[in-house]
Chain length 223, copies 2
Amino acid sequence: MSARRTTPPVLEGLSIRERSVAFEDLTARARIREAALEHFAREGYDRATIRAIAKTAGVSAGLLRHHYGSKEDLREACDHYVFEMLHRVNAGLLADPGTTAQTRQMSKPFGTYVARSLADGSPTVGPIFDELVTMTEAWLARADDSRTDTPIVDRRVRAVLVTAMKIGIPLLHEHVSRSLGTDMFGPEGDRLIALGLLDIYSHALIDDDVATSAAAGYEEPQR
Amino acid sequence: MSARRTTPPVLEGLSIRERSVAFEDLTARARIREAALEHFAREGYDRATIRAIAKTAGVSAGLLRHHYGSKEDLREACDHYVFEMLHRVNAGLLADPGTTAQTRQMSKPFGTYVARSLADGSPTVGPIFDELVTMTEAWLARADDSRTDTPIVDRRVRAVLVTAMKIGIPLLHEHVSRSLGTDMFGPEGDRLIALGLLDIYSHALIDDDVATSAAAGYEEPQR
DNA sequence: TCCAGTCCTATACAAACGTCTAGCAACTTA
DNA sequence: TAAGTTGCTAGACGTTTGTATAGGACTGGA
């Protein structure tokens, strides 16, 4: 297939479903992993079944066990895979921050998987959350520079909250899409969300004096 | 038990676990409901089992079925119960907005249940999300009044995002608590989060011009 | 006293699940 | 050619799950 390559160089060899390489051309082992990522992200770890994943991958349930051992081992393999993928995406973004919109689109399936895994309580995704918090913290540092007053709580705390909040959106994709009137993973929903987040992040949602007076009630433990 | 009543009048007859009435004094039917709320909120619908809920309630699995029919019916009963509770809390807050800190604490178990149900895809909690969005929308209206520029997206869209983000925090309570170094449902974590949210909501996180330039890339569909 | 209804337990059942074993076919290596 | 390794399927096993049924204990009214 020599069609014009639409994959940005940053994501070379990263995603599968969205790239030019066909799903059927993958090895069975890779197909199982892709199918597992899909099922885990969409249905969660518990609802997803070995047999359904195997069926999506076009193999038997026995082969899945042959390659990955157990369901828990399969999840760990997916976690490590996504972990490495996100690192590569991140490194690529640092080197070439131009193609943000496209990479956003490409890394989306990984994002939903991470979000779902975090909510499901996967034992190995904790470091990913911590890393996202650290990235947010560095991002918040810039905002704190152009700020006159002193924040009432540590930057780390705010980074944790912003990170968790951001992940909440794909976690509630069903209700977000319904309320938006369009699929939030589609191009229209994606645009709405991106613009909405930019607007929210660039404006204060409550008055400063209202916030400080409300914060006063929390400064000392309530009786 | 004639100890000083700590329950604010707003929540009269609302929560159970945190009130003076003992869990053992409830009818079996109520104990089952309370146990189900606890298990569904903590473990999610799939991981929670009929038998475990019955054991927590101190009854047999058969009695659970006798009172509630099926697991799905039990979930619906919990949904409707929480739905009504939140309405009463909301009505009470409108009538007497003074005891916000305490009511926050009291309505927290319901909040985590709603959050988990929304993420689990419960069929009957959709309206709750829509209602929360509407409340957020009214709340955003005040912020829009004291604003000079025109928002780039509809207020409804921003309300949806803010609502989903807020719910994301209890959904990721495990990682939030770990990153915070303290249980986010404890008094210390609760204070940190309340203050953190106030700080975040009362300040812009990115510069306005940066946002507008970034938004420009989304105004027209990318090629 | 009898009877009907309610509350409750114990046990059984069918389905679905993760896991395991046996075995076949193709390819590689000695 | 023989033996070993790898990729793969089919089927069975034991457990757990939601659900169903039979029956006991208690209560209130006729």
